[in-house]
């Protein structure tokens, strides 16, 4: 691949997904500077290991989310835990300026669908899922943080994820 095509491809990847990656990194790390560094790392890592990405096995977005979350958890574990601040109830309408309106609509619909599903969960289940997914915390750590029995926390996480799966399944991929 020439430098020109290489830059064009990473530009396209970045322009399409940077706001998604940065938004996820920011939610997990809670710090703009750290989220910026992480976003850069994610794109470079994905670019270097692009041969590992198989479109038949999931979307680019899922691939990027997996890498972003993994790298964010590494950082969270390095510097200590924080309870993630995911203001799911109200979120600012500050989406990116994508090239394609269709992409923007798809992204927004997906986000609304997931947020509605999360919002419909009982608060303790939602809290446990958020601490686990966005905070990179284990069930044991969550139990210690909340002062709840470990078994209760495990049950909340399971019920929360099952409910989320049911809601997403019932609404189908296309929303």
């Amino acid at each position: 691949m020439t430098d020109v095509t290489r830059v064009a491809s990473i530009q396209e990847l970045y322009d399409r997904h940077a706001a998604f990656v940065y938004g996820l990194a920011l939610s997990m790390l809670g710090d703009a500077s750290a989220a910026e560094e992480l976003t850069q790392d994610v794109f470079l890592q994905c670019w270097q290991r692009w041969d590992q990405y198989d479109p038949a096995r999931g979307s680019v977005r899922t691939f990027l989310a997996t890498v972003t979350r993994s790298r964010a958890i590494d950082r969270i574990r390095r510097r200590g835990r924080r309870v993630p601040e995911v203001a799911w109830e109200e979120f600012a309408d500050t989406g990116p300026d994508p090239d394609s309106l269709e992409d923007a609509v798809d992204d927004r619909l997906t986000m609304q669908r997931v947020r509605a599903a999360l919002g419909a969960l009982p608060a303790p289940q939602r809290q446990a899922l958020i601490m686990c997914y966005f905070g990179g915390m284990s069930a044991r750590e969550i139990a210690q943080r909340l002062g709840d029995p470990l078994g209760t926390v495990k049950t909340r996480i399971r019920l929360g994820l099952m409910r989320l799966r049911e809601v997403l399944d019932s609404r189908g991929e296309g929303g």
Binding site: D3, R6, I10, Q11, Y14, D15, A18, A19, F20, Y22, G23, L24, L26, A35, E36, Q40, F43, L44, W47, D51, R57, G58, T62, A65, T66, R69, S70, I73, D74, R77, V86, W88, F91, T94, G95, P96, D97, T110, M111, V114, L118, L129, C132, Y133, F134, G136, M137, S138, A139, R140, I142, K154, T155, I157, R158, L161, M162, L164, R165, L168
Partner: protein, 240 residues
């Protein structure tokens, strides 16, 4: 968890979210290597886990980040501005040098421990991705005569390959287990395993497209070709 006991849905959920403890994770990984129904159950959970990433609003990063990413992707020096330095006297430098040396020593030690644990985490994540994919192909690698209770399983998923080791005896001192993609007399190294843990998992190199078997040899020291005895072997399943 023993080989016959299936994990609960709760256990699988925590595994999918990486919210379990290392010992639980190791036991469940071993079970997954042997249990297709649990692998399918895990695969059914992952879309909901992946969907959680969509819950946060997209937030445009600062515009200058784009230039940095593009520059770095071309291998150019990163252009992040550094804070200005202040000059200070000889004593200040001497104190600073001692402090820096001590700090570096501590950081190197911490960094090594951290790198090791992060490498384990990354390996575990790759293993989960491969195990949870219903399209992954599994092959049993064993030697009933030599190691009655030991087995290994290799899972292949596109260019990814992982190996799960179960009750494999420790390698003799000074030796390691080497894993090979094999066809007839041709072999390419797939990985190397210290053999210090009875149960372990490792990420192998991308499979050689022409391989028909996976072999495990004991080597001392590692050579570019297998020279030690083959202690475990598994045939590649035929297509269809």
């Amino acid at each position: 968890m023993d080989d016959l006991e299936h994990p609960s849905l709760e256990d699988l959920t925590l595994y999918a979210l990486e919210a379990d403890e290392p010992a639980e994770r190791e036991a469940l990984t071993l079970h997954l290597a042997e249990c297709r129904s649990c692998r399918l159950a895990l695969a059914g959970l992952l879309p909901a886990v992946d969907a959680l990433a969509e819950a946060v609003p997209a937030t445009p990063p600062p515009p200058e980040l784009r230039d940095r990413v593009l520059a770095a992707s071309l291998g150019e020096a990163q252009t992040r501005p550094r804070p200005p330095r202040r000059l200070f006297g000889f004593v200040g430098w001497a104190v600073a040098l001692v402090a820096v040396a001590a700090l570096v020593a501590v950081q190197v030690h911490m960094r090594q421990r951290l790198d090791a644990s992060q490498a384990v985490l990354r390996r575990q994540r790759t293993v989960v991705q491969v195990l949870a994919d219903p399209q992954s192909v599994s092959m049993l690698v064993q030697n009933r005569q030599l190691m009655a209770h030991a087995w290994a399983r290799v899972f292949l998923r596109g260019s990814q390959a992982v190996m799960i080791m179960h009750r494999v005896p420790a390698a003799p001192p000074g030796q390691t287990y080497d894993i090979w993609w094999m066809r007839g007399n041709t072999a390419y190294r797939a990985g190397q395993w210290s053999g210090r843990k009875a149960n372990d998992m490792l990420v192998l190199s991308s499979p050689w497209h022409g391989f028909t078997a996976v072999g495990v040899t004991l080597e001392s020291p590692a050579d570019s070709l297998p020279s030690g005895p083959i202690v475990m072997m598994g045939e590649r399943p035929t297509a269809g």
